[in-house]
């Protein structure tokens, strides 16, 4: 049986095809302004990659903030349950999932069976999310995907005192003007994201093992800053962005 999961996030939309608990293919597209189009595009792409037709797919589950706008999904499940399910599938020993997406961050607690037992979600403020890093990357005139690499040369971290995206941006601009090396500014930003995330994790309680998912997990600078701050090792799956869609595909029955 082939099932599909579609995760319509605020910045990107992912689709995963699953057959007998094996990932057949996945796709990642930009969400843009219309969730429905993004879902269709991601789905078409993943079908094409796996060289199968829509009719070969038995069930589709949609997740993510745009989950209600996926007309071809048979059910909708929240991203919290899906991330939990996807993470437990990838590593059954995971008890804490930290998901930092485009516009929100979540911490999810799993039990031994991989069921979600508790969660916290910050969606009130862009601080500490992918969007925060994107704005800072713009100020630094770098693509957001280059931040992790660009941090490597840093010998210390610049002090970023504000977590508000708007104020932090002007802080970054003035640090650049003061001649602070870019790498140090980036390390400072990564530490700021880690501090913010640590506060959320601490509220829920840290139980190892820890997995990080979502687009921001692709930034090794954030992962190591967070790992240092939490004092635990953080496991990042090979493609952290598709964990929600994977969970949705697992739930599609």
């Amino acid at each position: 049986m082939i099932t599909a999961g579609i995760d319509v996030g605020s910045l990107t939309t992912e689709a995963v095809l699953l057959q007998d608990r094996e990932i057949l293919a996945y796709s990642i597209v930009k969400t843009g302004s219309r969730a429905r189009l993004a879902a269709e595009q991601a789905f078409e792409e993943v079908l094409e990659k796996a060289k199968i037709k829509f009719s070969d797919v038995s069930f589709v589950v949609a997740t993510g903030y745009g989950r209600m706008g996926v007309p071809f999904a048979s059910r909708q499940v929240t991203e919290i349950t899906c991330h939990g399910r996807g993470a437990a599938f990838l590593s059954p020993r995971v008890r804490t999932v930290i998901d930092i997406g485009g516009q929100d961050s979540k911490v999810i607690r799993l039990d031994e069976q991989g069921n979600v037992v508790d969660f916290l979600m910050n969606d009130k403020c862009a601080a500490g999310t992918g969007r925060f890093l994107e704005v800072m990357a713009q100020a630094l005139e770098l693509p957001v995907t280059a931040l992790g690499e660009a941090e490597r040369e840093a010998r210390r971290a610049a002090e970023i005192s504000s977590m508000c995206t708007v104020f932090a941006e002007s802080e970054v601009v003035s640090l650049i003007a003061q001649g602070v090396p870019r790498a140090e500014i980036i390390r400072g930003l990564h530490r700021a994201v880690a501090a913010r995330t640590t506060a959320l994790v601490s509220r829920l309680g840290l139980v190892p093992e820890v997995m990080m998912t979502g687009g921001v997990a692709k930034n090794p600078g954030v992962v190591s800053a967070l790992s240092e701050k939490l004092g635990v090792e953080i496991f990042v799956p090979p493609e952290p962005q598709i964990v929600g869609a994977l969970g949705a595909a697992l739930l599609a029955r």
Binding site: Q76, V117, D123
Partner: protein
Amino acid sequence: MAVMEFRKFLRDLFEGEHRKRILSSPLTYQLVERALKLARGSFPSQASYMMARFALAQTGRAFSRRVPVVWTSAFFPVEIVWGLNLCPFSPEVAAAFLASLGFAEEALDRAEQAGYSRDLCSFHRLIAGAALLGYLPPPAALVASTHLCDGAPLLFQNLAAFFRVPFHVLDVPYRADRDAEAYVAEQLAELWRALADLAERKPEPAGLAEAIQNSNRFRANLLEVNELRCRVPAPVRGSEMLNYLYLFFAGQGSREAAEVFACLAREIGRGEREGKKEERFRILWLHLKPFYKGELMDFIENKSGAVLAFEEMSHVYWPPLSPGDPFPSLARKVLSHFCYKPLEARTATVKMLAEKYRVDGIVHFSHWGCRQSVGGSLMLKDALQRAGWPVLLLDGDCLDARNEATGGILTRVQAFLEILAERKNFRVGERHDHCRN
């Protein structure tokens, strides 16, 4: 006229530039009472109709200026005011009412302009703004209790200065021993005499004894309702009970408030209240709910398959009052609130209610700025989870819709219901429309 239409009627009536004049005219309430009678058949029950009628009549009375109006804070023992036949007015309930009609923003903005911080509880901000806008009946005095809600005495003191009327505070110690009881009782006796002066007459013990008896009837009838609510499926939804806020905050001591719950008990007893056909999840609800028209309560009770089986507010925590010994018994009532004790008391009460009403999970509606309910919520959650209950701390606001991101709050509730679904071995993430009934 359906209930929704009745609300629309009120909204249309109060809409526009003459809001202040219309809201503060006693004639308005006569008109509204007539409209209410026309809408009678379409209220979900006789009890909810009675409650609306009572609250509107009292609001009309408050604006009539024929009787001194006493503003009382949410947890003040209002029996004292009923016992003097004065008109109690609960500004917290008025705030909820204005928000339910969609008029919160104007008053909240007005309060902010006057310097009330956005960090304050929106009940208090809305009250301040509505008072400044002239939407509330002018008080002859304000009384606030220091227990539970620590913002109320400060706000009331401010408003007393604004209205140039006396302000009385009931200082409630944070311990429930004999000394505390005597101290509170003494203040209550003094307050009773001070409020009697407003009406320029001698306070009558018989009047107070009658209010105490009414309050005991209220208690007994509510207890009966609560027992009947153990039935599965739940005969009364929590969102309806939370609409009886007026009775809890301003009605205890009146004949009418007791009658509303007697009527509700009869309705349930006669089987006139049918539960939901499909009750997938039973929830125990802590603290209040959003009163503005939003999607949250509609989603939970009409679309998700969940039902608020019981809510903290309706719990009868106090012993019966003694008509012959009114002040010490009212003092005991005030001092026995389970939230005005070390957190273990609230935890134990919540656990007891969760078991009694056989709920699947507990939701704490964490109202922005409410220190008394939100303050210990993380520890409360921890203790309840250790006892095996799934708990959701749902951040929101009862009145200020600007403090709520609808998508986020619904996702949290859905994710919580998915946790409950997994525990009950239901398929996770159904389409929700089939649950409507």
